[in-house]
Symmetry: C7
Subunit: 92 residues, 7 copies
Amino acid sequence: MKIKPLGDRAVLKPAKAEEVTKSGIVLPDTVDKEKPEQAEVVAVGSGEKIAKLGLKVGDQVLCSKYGGTEVKIDEVEYKVVSEDDILAVLEK
Amino acid sequence: MKIKPLGDRAVLKPAKAEEVTKSGIVLPDTVDKEKPEQAEVVAVGSGEKIAKLGLKVGDQVLCSKYGGTEVKIDEVEYKVVSEDDILAVLEK
Amino acid sequence: MKIKPLGDRAVLKPAKAEEVTKSGIVLPDTVDKEKPEQAEVVAVGSGEKIAKLGLKVGDQVLCSKYGGTEVKIDEVEYKVVSEDDILAVLEK
Amino acid sequence: MKIKPLGDRAVLKPAKAEEVTKSGIVLPDTVDKEKPEQAEVVAVGSGEKIAKLGLKVGDQVLCSKYGGTEVKIDEVEYKVVSEDDILAVLEK
Amino acid sequence: MKIKPLGDRAVLKPAKAEEVTKSGIVLPDTVDKEKPEQAEVVAVGSGEKIAKLGLKVGDQVLCSKYGGTEVKIDEVEYKVVSEDDILAVLEK
Amino acid sequence: MKIKPLGDRAVLKPAKAEEVTKSGIVLPDTVDKEKPEQAEVVAVGSGEKIAKLGLKVGDQVLCSKYGGTEVKIDEVEYKVVSEDDILAVLEK
Amino acid sequence: MKIKPLGDRAVLKPAKAEEVTKSGIVLPDTVDKEKPEQAEVVAVGSGEKIAKLGLKVGDQVLCSKYGGTEVKIDEVEYKVVSEDDILAVLEK
């Protein structure tokens, strides 16, 4: 079973705490709606707006923690987010 | 009696709990407005926005649980949703 | 006396309870703003948006119960609704 | 003294209760913001939106009771309304 | 010192009570935000929207009483309003 | 150190009380959000909207007192405002 | 690890208090949402709106203190902001 995001949405796999720590990123521990989260791009919709972002499957991104919709498939957690919830790409 | 959705709307048939379980999907049990739901596409309107999504009758989709309008026809429950309430297509 | 709806509006005649029952449709009895209602199209405005819906006089439609403005002419109740309040056409 | 409405506005003369009764129209007696009112078109602005409605001076219209701005000139009450407040034309 | 309104704004000089009375206009004495006021056009900005209204310096207009910004220059009171606050032109 | 406003913004230097008095302008002393303020244009951004206003450095303008962002550089107070906060140009 | 901002966003490095003091800028100490902050441009997204601002890496800018999303990489604090949160460029 695979999830194909519609329009200007993407499917992301949130990074686990140990992965985030290893990458040297510290995300502020606020209760703020703007709290960011590190995640991996799993699939990108075919909308015009998200196409302009040039996202590739496997990209590590910074997204809004409370944006999007959570769903678990075959024991793996995913998030379906709109393009506006993805703030930046993290590059090594 | 059939329902033909207008504009950028679609008619969906929400999946039963056992169908969802079999598919390996776990939908979070929150009271959140963003709670997702699995459903089957029954009919697609002729609006320009929904046309871009490329939805086909029979597609399994992930949609917003509290979006749309419920209606029961000949003992079967349906939902009329706007294209924006359909988040993703589920593919086997 | 006839009502000619302006712009992207339509005039509808809400179906009576017994007509709805006969048609096999069950509309949820909620207090929700999104509660739907069955009605017959009596007149369609000449706006561009409503033209795209392809509605015909006599069509049975599903519309939002609390949308639109009620008016009684020669003892018959009508509703003037905007095109966005009409969700779907019911076809036999 | 005459009032020339600007842009997409019209000047209407609300119908008196006895005129409304004679016309066979019954307007619901609600406190709702959507309560309609019968009125006569006195003048139409030159905006593009209101032009599309094809209103003529002397037309009897159904408009939103609480929309628009009231003004009395030479003892006659008028309302300046925007085109969106005019719902339908009443035709004999 | 003169005030040149910017964009789609106009500078108006509110009419004095005795002038309004003489013109035969009665403005409703409500606390409503939509309360109208008679005023004279003193200057018109060069925005595209206000140009379409065809206002001329010296025109008597009906405007929203609580819209705009008051300013007093050389003991005379003026209002800077946006084009949307001007409802109608009053013609003798 | 100089401030170059971005997009449709301008940098203004609010006039001192004695300057305002000398110019013959009286600004109403309300707690209203719409309270105006006299200021001098120090720099204009390169956005399309503000370009249409034709503002020049040195122009005396009337702007919304509570709009914009205050900043002090080398002991002088400035405001960064968006073009929509500038109501009119004051001309001698 | 580097952060590449998406769309009309930029990555900024907030200036330290001593840097701000040295530059001669005094930022008002209000609890206002509009409180400004000095920061250095680290990276600029490829969106059309932010392109028009002509920002360059290394530019000192004035931005809205409470806009954007904070993130710490390799012990350095950054902010991901949208183009609308950047008010002005500070030039020596």
